[in-house]
Symmetry: D2
Subunit: 292 residues, 4 copies
């Protein structure tokens, strides 16, 4: 990486109805502005006739202000009916981690963050319980304990939102946060709240999935990372994984194995989001591969 | 392998409430009768206090009639409350394959059977459609087309049962047979009907699982082999597997990938059953590993 | 698919040194000729500065002869230093299967071919042994037994090459063909011979991999499909997979499990080749995902 | 768990030439002493005629001293040619972690230890570099930096051995310790040093496996945990795993993915050792499943 940040990138995420000449007209837009295209990933959903693109440019090629680029692309996009967003890699995203009592997902994200696998800032950890303060301390991240008092969830949630706003949070990661968020919260942070569900959805929605997996005698258990939506456990799936198990493993062991899956699945989902590799499309996600 | 078939085995599948001295008393029973124990696999479910054992003996060590062995073991078992079954490897099991129109599972089982991976006889293939007759012909297995006429399912099922009885069938494999069996049928062949479900149960129970997996945007698809029970798709699971997929794959491609999983999962389940490695315990199965 | 074949595609596989404006200039080339771009997959190897593209067009958009398109693209490509090939989906590829004595890979490819998973013709099966003639007969494919007589391999290979030429073969699949091909053969069919190696290369190169895997006590076994090159077992890898095993499994069982992996791995590699999804780059392959 | 520790277990690991009546005579030995057999796992290697057993007893059933039990079992074992070891779960094993500069394996083991997944004490972390002291501090484990000065490896190793002895270490875990141990060290700690190798052995023995995996274009990368022996990278394999990769992933990304595999593989191996589930047999290991 050079001193003047010449390795930084601009990423456009684009979706629109499929039409002739899309690649040519979009790549021309950037070619005329002398951008080098680092990568261009596309996907056409032939069932719905919908088109998706992820375009990575070299930020140092930019010869105008960012605002001007966005306005020009906005006008261009309006003519061909694009929905789009743009992400600059030199604008590090600010991530809030929300937890309750279990530490494995929290630890995993903090470690990857520290090892530079996750390109973000973590200005705040929020919990409804005091248990994980020492973990936050280990990594020198401010820890806020916001318990729900007398069952008054809305007051607590209001405090959470103020904290998120004050910290200019771009992404909320529910790293085993055991509270349901209100629809107002979900709406405000639409597409910016990632949750880890401790089951291979849509199997075992709801609570105690490992106990139920044991009773049902399934031969594999899994975990699912998804964007939070109002319908609990129904949000667009970002990543899933499973592990083979057998009859010998009690629910306690299944939970231990499940923890390993949860860790990895949540971290992969957060990484994909931070690298602007995800487009949400209805109940599905388009997750572009992690080439560059 | 010696000429007189001395490689044949006797396998006992045993379950009972856990109690002191089980291994010693059972192994003594066979030691006193001069049996060599080839393998002895056990599992204790500590949650329910239930004990399971699979015991393999050398058949040529048998110094009495089989009936005498079974009577003596029956008396012994009654005293310590055992439920058990016994299987002799020189008594090849007779398997009926039931199919409808898709050939991949049928082919897979026939190929493995031909390559000696599945130790069984296949005296009959039954279908409610004529489509797969040529496959049966390729492998020289009699093919019976028993269509459902005028919606009269019970008459057709009666014909199926007669055919099974006449052929002394030990195991019925529903290799993508697209008809629900009556509770009477299920009861008669309890623990002896294996079905392949084209989804990772309990996700996507019911029809069109690949279309639904696509709509839901899951990142893995799977298949499940289970014993048939009255509650459709709720029988004890024998084997499952999954494959990673992504947004690019249309339902048609998911089906192709799914076919590969179904093939392998069904064949593994049938193999485990034929090798007497499965004990059914309520809604779960104990599947002993395929050591010997 | 419409009657006039309007679903057919043209696929360009392109590689060149990375340079500014590639996407724009290539997509413009086709936009000017009124092609609809069905999909455009790219990959830039930042370590070597090399660029790879797979571009799928709608064949019915073609307004000139194929020769004219190729000449124009050739001129265009020369100016920017492209290496490329073009594939028309209405020109079905002709595949020769070469086998020895084991049937599992042969069966798998024939079944997928019959089930329309593999879009190709199979005009000939060649073997150095007579064993698998009946399999060829089942699928009504001409079977040629070309044994090696008196150790004279070159005479036999000459007969093989004549048969391939006479049948206008595009791709040779070594479906467990247990003979080494001469460097002359390899040169003539460069990038058009796919082999299945029964180990997870580069582990266990050479013979008896399952015996050696057992002795070494590995916990997973695998298989590798690769393009054949002069250096045996060193050709560019197309596809690999593995399965978990344990100490209980004897070499014979490992072989059975290995057969399942070999089947799937070889078929996936052949499918990727037939769908023009592979670019060979030195010792590596770029395998584009199977979106469309 | 009751107050008087009645959940503690005694585990015997046994191997011997296969012979008639082994299960009966061994289980009788313990039945006569009024032991309850919690689990009894066996494996007979039919190729070598060797027999392996893992037997778990309830510790509170013990009516004699441990020494007396061991003497009696020793006499019994001598008569039938047993090699055996015994492990008491109330005698927590003492584990030394040896590291160099990379933290991911160290963190993983410390986290699992803290979360009670690994039943052990960790009295000491030893490194030849100072880098990871802060990690040790986070978990309040004494950290000893023993650098190699002027290339004098034997002096440094002597200091390591003194530290291990002083701390009564039962198991040494090389959690990415980048120094070769002397044959004297290996001999002293035979079967008690676990190493993680950052490749799917026997592929990519030696250094820079991720770079070589990239150059070779393999489609999966892996890691291997094994007991350290004099022949580097040739020790008995305990656990392996792999992950699917593709051409897009540069060596740097492969390393990140590799770290996740290394973590899990090393921890599983350490867990199996701590739970007395491993018998070493020449170049292989028998790893009994993690039932109880």
């Amino acid at each position: 990486m050079s001193e003047n940040g010449s390795n930084h990138t601009v990423t456009f995420l684009i979706q629109c109805p499929d039409q002739k000449g899309l690649v040519a007209s979009i790549s021309n837009f950037f070619y005329e502005r002398e951008f080098n295209i680092l990568s261009c990933q596309q996907y056409t959903d032939l069932l719905t006739g919908h088109y998706y693109m992820r375009l990575q440019l070299v930020l140092s090629d930019l010869t105008t202000t960012r605002r001007q680029l966005e306005e020009e692309f906005g006008e261009f996009g309006n003519r061909i009916n694009l929905r789009w967003s743009v992400h600059y890699s030199d604008k590090t995203q600010r991530v809030a981690l929300m937890v309750s009592k279990t530490s494995h997902c929290l630890y995993d994200i903090l470690l990857r963050w520290k090892e530079d696998e996750l390109d973000c800032e973590v200005p705040v950890i929020i919990s409804n319980h005091p248990d994980l303060e020492s973990v936050a301390d280990q990594f020198r991240v401010p820890f806020h304990c916001l318990p729900i008092k007398n069952g008054d969830k809305s007051t607590q949630e209001q405090a959470v939102r103020e904290l998120l706003n004050k910290n200019h949070i771009d992404l909320v990661v529910l790293a085993r946060y055991m509270q349901v968020l209100s629809s107002g919260f979900i709406e405000e942070y639409k597409g910016r709240v990632i949750n880890i569900h401790h089951a291979f959805l849509p199997a075992f929605q709801g609570g105690s999935p490992y106990e139920r997996a044991y009773e049902r005698g399934v031969k594999m258990i899994g975990a699912t990372a998804h964007y939070a939506t109002e319908d609990l456990d129904e949000g667009p799936i970002i990543e899933q994984d499973v592990e083979r198990v057998n009859h010998e493993l009690e629910p306690k062991r299944l939970k231990q194995i499940g923890r390993d899956i949860e860790r990895v699945v949540l971290s992969r989902a957060v990484k994909a989001h931070l690298e602007s590799r995800i487009i949400i499309s209805g109940k599905r996600t388009i997750v572009f591969s992690q080439g560059i």
